[in-house]
Amino acid sequence: MNWLVFAIVGWVMFGLELGMADALQLGVSGIAPSFVMILLVVVAASTPRNTAIWAAIAIGLFLDLTHKAPSPAGARPIIVIGPYVLACLMAAYTVLTMRAMVFRRNVLAMAFLSMFGAAMAGVVVTAVYAVRHFYDGQHIEIHALPELGRRLASAVYTGAIAIVVAPALQWLAPLFGFPQAGSRERRRRA
């Protein structure tokens, strides 16, 4: 994979996520799509295992750095490195496991993978914060069940948005340097 293209596209996706997510949220529910999760799913579905995992770590790290942990009222919100790294690793692992079972060029398959990947990531982030809430309650406070519900609903929304975004990212596949689907087949025929 061309890491420079990945960095540029990632930068744009993060910009969309930070700048537009609140405009796309459903009412004031906090349910919003994740653009970077779609990028992660497209990369994980199209690259070798190690590349996918490093991409997941990079995306997770920047998600951690752009996100404040849920804090109790009146407490100064803090940044925690780790929850989103682990969440993105879980999402990438989910896609790596499932990608053999789906037709990657199918838009609905990518939407399904995005939804499933985002859901797994949501479960991991909620779990990490919920565990920390027990021993670090003065800095982190989370109501796990509503939070999990919101994240799962956001995962469904991410899947819906992936119907539009994933094909656009796949269109950039030659720039990313993804191995082209069917190339082995063509080589064999040749």
Binding site: W11, V12, F14, G15, L16, E17, L18, G19, M20, A21, D22, A23, L24, Q25, G27, V28, G30, I31, A32, N50, I53, W54, I57, G60, F62, L63, L65, T66, H67, K68, P70, S71, P72, A73, G74, R76, P77, I78, I79, V80, I81, G82, P83, V85, L86, L89, V128, V131, R132, Y135, D136, Q138, H139, I140, E147, R150
Partner: protein, 290 residues
């Protein structure tokens, strides 16, 4: 070649272990991470600002009270500003009276705080909308201070308090978020400056604030103005408008107490630009000349 693969595998394992450790380390050991917020915000600011500008232009904050005509709206904003200044002046007179009394009694209190206004664009939200933090383009370099600086729109409508500050950006938590905590406020019955009742409000995470009215409060009706008056909030926020009463009803399980719902005049999460009210350092303090 196999050696390189093994080392990459090892590196990957170490990275995952590091992420696990950092994820579960108590906050007191990872305070240094906050220093990275500034550079990261700066890195994403150009593209997130553009996306935010487009989205907030397409879906701007809608005011429930301002006239749609631009000139009338400007006059209304000016009127609200003057009204707020008047109320704040009244409050300060009361404070000064108290100060005089205290000084006469030999107790020295802190000098009054002056306010500096700084316009700042909203360049994005946190990547997780649950916390509701807005990122604004002004930070420590512009004199923004944590928890002492508040953000307003239309001159007097309180958006929220600055919760964390980086070099060039800050995070503001809107008052409609439960994380903003309890806020003491006054509900004005007829006109600002007139008869008022106390209430205690907290963000309900649905664009409103909910809370309890003081016992014996009468004549509270939808549309009445609610303003902040809370010793836990900085002077820069006193008497700013929180919103208007949306509904009042009996509290469940305590019929003698009333529950009040207050809705800000604007959708606070959708504002494109805010004005930061920064406390200017008192005259005479080193480096504190504004």
């Amino acid at each position: 070649m196999p050696k390189a693969r093994i080392s990459q595998q090892r590196l990957l394992t170490l990275t995952v272990i590091a992420a696990l450790l950092l994820a579960f380390l108590p906050a007191r050991y990872t305070a240094w991470v906050d220093a990275l917020q500034g550079p990261v915000d700066f890195f994403f600011a150009p593209v997130s600002h553009l996306a935010s500008y487009v989205s907030r232009t397409l879906r701007p904050a809608v005011s429930g009270t301002l006239p749609s005509d631009a000139d009338l709206a400007r006059i209304a904003i000016e009127r609200d500003k003057l009204q707020t200044e008047l109320l704040d002046a009244d409050r300060r007179i009361e404070e000064l009276k108290r100060l005089v009394r205290d000084l006469q009694g030999g107790i020295n209190l802190a000098p009054d705080v002056e306010v500096r206004a700084l316009a700042a664009s909203v360049i994005g939200a946190s990547s997780d909308l649950a916390d509701g933090l807005l990122t604004v383009r002004a930070g420590r370099d512009e004199g923004v201070t944590e928890r002492e600086t508040v953000a307003v729109v239309n001159g007097v409508h309180l958006v929220g308090r600055v919760e964390s500050v980086a070099a060039r950006t800050s995070r503001v938590r809107p008052i409609t978020r439960s994380g903003a905590g309890w806020i003491q406020a006054l509900v004005y019955i007829d006109r600002p400056g007139g008869k008022a009742y106390r209430c205690q409000l907290r963000g309900a995470d649905d664009g409103t604030l909910k809370g309890d009215l003081e016992e014996g409060a009468q004549g509270i009706e939808p549309g009445q103005e609610v303003r902040l008056q809370d010793a836990d909030w900085p002077d820069t926020a006193q008497m700013l408008v929180l919103g208007r009463v949306e509904s009042v009803g009996a509290k469940e399980g305590a019929p003698l107490r009333s529950v009040i719902i207050v809705r800000p005049d604007l959708q606070l999460e959708r504002v494109r630009r805010v004005v930061l009210r920064i406390p200017a350092a008192p005259a005479g303090e080193i480096g504190g000349t504004h």
